[in-house]
């Protein structure tokens, strides 16, 4: 049997090997090294060739499954990107708006802070504490216009009309030095040099050097005079002349970042005097002692006034 096998094998052993009837080791013994490695490669090549030519429909079904699975996750994200898109558009719109319309410059001071600013034309502004000054840089050349909330001292260079707008009225000058305090419904303008025109809803005044005008809740007092060459707050002291204590309290609060409870006193009491900016204790004594008011620091930065 075996004899017959090996005898006939000469013409068929490769076929038998390919079908797995002849083990690799026996083939190796029968043929050269080069032939053996060729046939190993051929066998593998034939297998792979079969696989490469085979249908791959199964794979397509797998792909479709994966795509279907993916779709749901993609949808989940879509509303999010929609929101981001809208948010981005809004930001972009606002950005464009501010670029196209105005170049507004804002200066702001905090409690107890003063700030000196040079304007484009060389004019100088000194801001007292808790003050906001804004102006539009783009049309500054044509009309020198500023808005003020708080107190500031102006040294205006000569040139075109210089207009300062406040809630309580506007101040119009050509070139001069003046102080404006527009805090809440308190409006006080003092002229130090040149000529100042003050316009409010109810009245118009022209101030000459040393003259001042004050309006409280729209009621204006007649012009009075000052002996000072510039406002005292620039040198670290706030000075008041016949001012209701209410506004002095606001000035104190803004200077020292404190809260003053004035419920149990008459806040229309008239005050004349000044307080320093560098010592809260002395400031409180100088303001409230002459008025026979007692002050009491209940908590830090919280002061209660009593008789």
């Amino acid at each position: 049997m075996e004899n017959q096998n090996s005898h006939n094998n000469e013409e068929i052993f490769l076929a038998q090997w390919l079908e797995g009837k002849l083990p690799d080791t026996e083939l190796k013994n029968r043929i050269s090294e080069a032939d053996y490695s060729f046939y190993l490669k051929l066998r593998k090549g034939l297998e792979v060739s079969d696989q490469l030519n085979a249908s791959n429909e199964d794979l397509f079904n797998k792909i479709q499954e994966k795509i279907a699975h993916k779709k749901t996750t993609v949808r989940k994200l879509q509303p999010m990107s929609w929101y981001i898109g809208v948010a981005a558009s809004i930001v972009l719109l606002f950005g464009l708006f501010s670029i196209l319309t105005t170049d507004v410059i804002i200066y702001e001071t905090d409690f107890g802070e003063t700030k000196t600013i040079s304007l484009l034309d060389g004019s100088e502004v000194i801001l007292n504490s808790k003050t906001i000054l804004t102006y539009n840089e783009s049309d500054w050349e044509e009309s020198r216009q500023l808005s003020l909330d708080g107190e500031a001292y102006f040294k205006v260079e000569k040139g075109s009309t210089f207009t300062l707008n406040t809630k309580n009225g506007s101040v119009i000058v050509l070139g001069t030095q003046f102080n404006v305090n527009s805090t809440n419904d308190f409006f006080d303008v003092v002229c130090f040099e040149g000529k100042v025109r003050v316009k409010t809803n109810s009245s118009a005044h022209i101030l000459l050097p040393t003259q001042s005008i004050r309006k409280i809740k729209g009621d204006s007092s007649n012009p009075s005079t000052t002996q000072l060459l510039q406002p005292t707050w620039i040198d670290g002291e706030s000075t008041f002349k016949s001012v209701p204590i209410k506004y002095v309290i606001i000035a104190l609060e803004q200077q020292y970042n404190i809260k003053i409870d004035s419920e149990s006193i008459d806040d229309t009491t008239i005050f004349s005097g000044s307080f320093p900016h560098n010592n809260l204790h002395i400031a409180l004594i100088t303001v409230f002692d002459p008025l026979h008011m007692k002050y009491n620091e209940k908590e830090k930065r919280n002061i209660k006034l009593e008789y």
Binding site: E11, I12, F13, A15, F38, L42, L52, N56, F60
Partner: protein
């Protein structure tokens, strides 16, 4: 030349693209990876990516698009393999699933192999294809062709000898 505006996002068009190109891309990936499983994994990712970008890809350029992503994904896979290989080296994990004598099947070899089969003498080719493609045993082939099993084996043996001669040392 008028632009072909067929929409890849339509599932019929997408399926047609798969039927037309998937086998060739699988083959292309096999030559690169030498691993049919990896080739098929990448093939899946190629078509998933094509679907994701179906609205952005021109129908005119879809073929080269698919081949470039296939190639890029293969290169990424190689990069990953290198990292994994280094990791294994440091972890002293020596065992592999690959056979000890790895046989490289180049594109040239495979093409020669297939063209040689196509050009085999008629009788040999008939037997060879019945065995390889239809997966028939020699006995079944003998019955179908009404010849002896030995005659079938002889033709198979001859075919293999011819292939050795034709393909030579690649």
């Amino acid at each position: 030349m008028p632009k072909d505006n067929r929409n890849i996002c339509e599932s019929k068009i997408f399926e047609a693209l798969y039927n037309a190109h998937a086998k060739d891309i699988r083959r292309f990936l096999f030559y690169k990876t030498q691993d049919l499983h990896k080739a098929e994994d990448i093939l899946q990712d190629v078509f998933i990516k094509l679907w994701d970008n179906c609205s952005k890809v021109d129908y005119d350029k879809v073929k080269s698009y698919m081949y470039s992503i296939a190639n890029n994904m293969f290169l990424n896979e190689v990069k990953h393999q290198k990292v994994a290989h280094n990791y294994n080296k440091y972890n002293k994990k020596e065992s592999t699933n690959e056979s000890p004598e790895f046989i490289m099947l180049e594109k040239e070899f495979m093409e020669k192999l297939e063209s040689t089969i196509a050009n085999l003498p008629k009788k040999q080719r008939e037997v060879f294809l019945m065995n390889r493609i239809e997966k028939k045993k020699y006995k079944q082939i003998a019955l179908l062709l009404d010849i002896s099993v030995k005659a079938v084996e002889k033709r198979m043996h001859q075919a293999l000898v011819v292939m050795r001669k034709e393909i030579g040392n690649v």
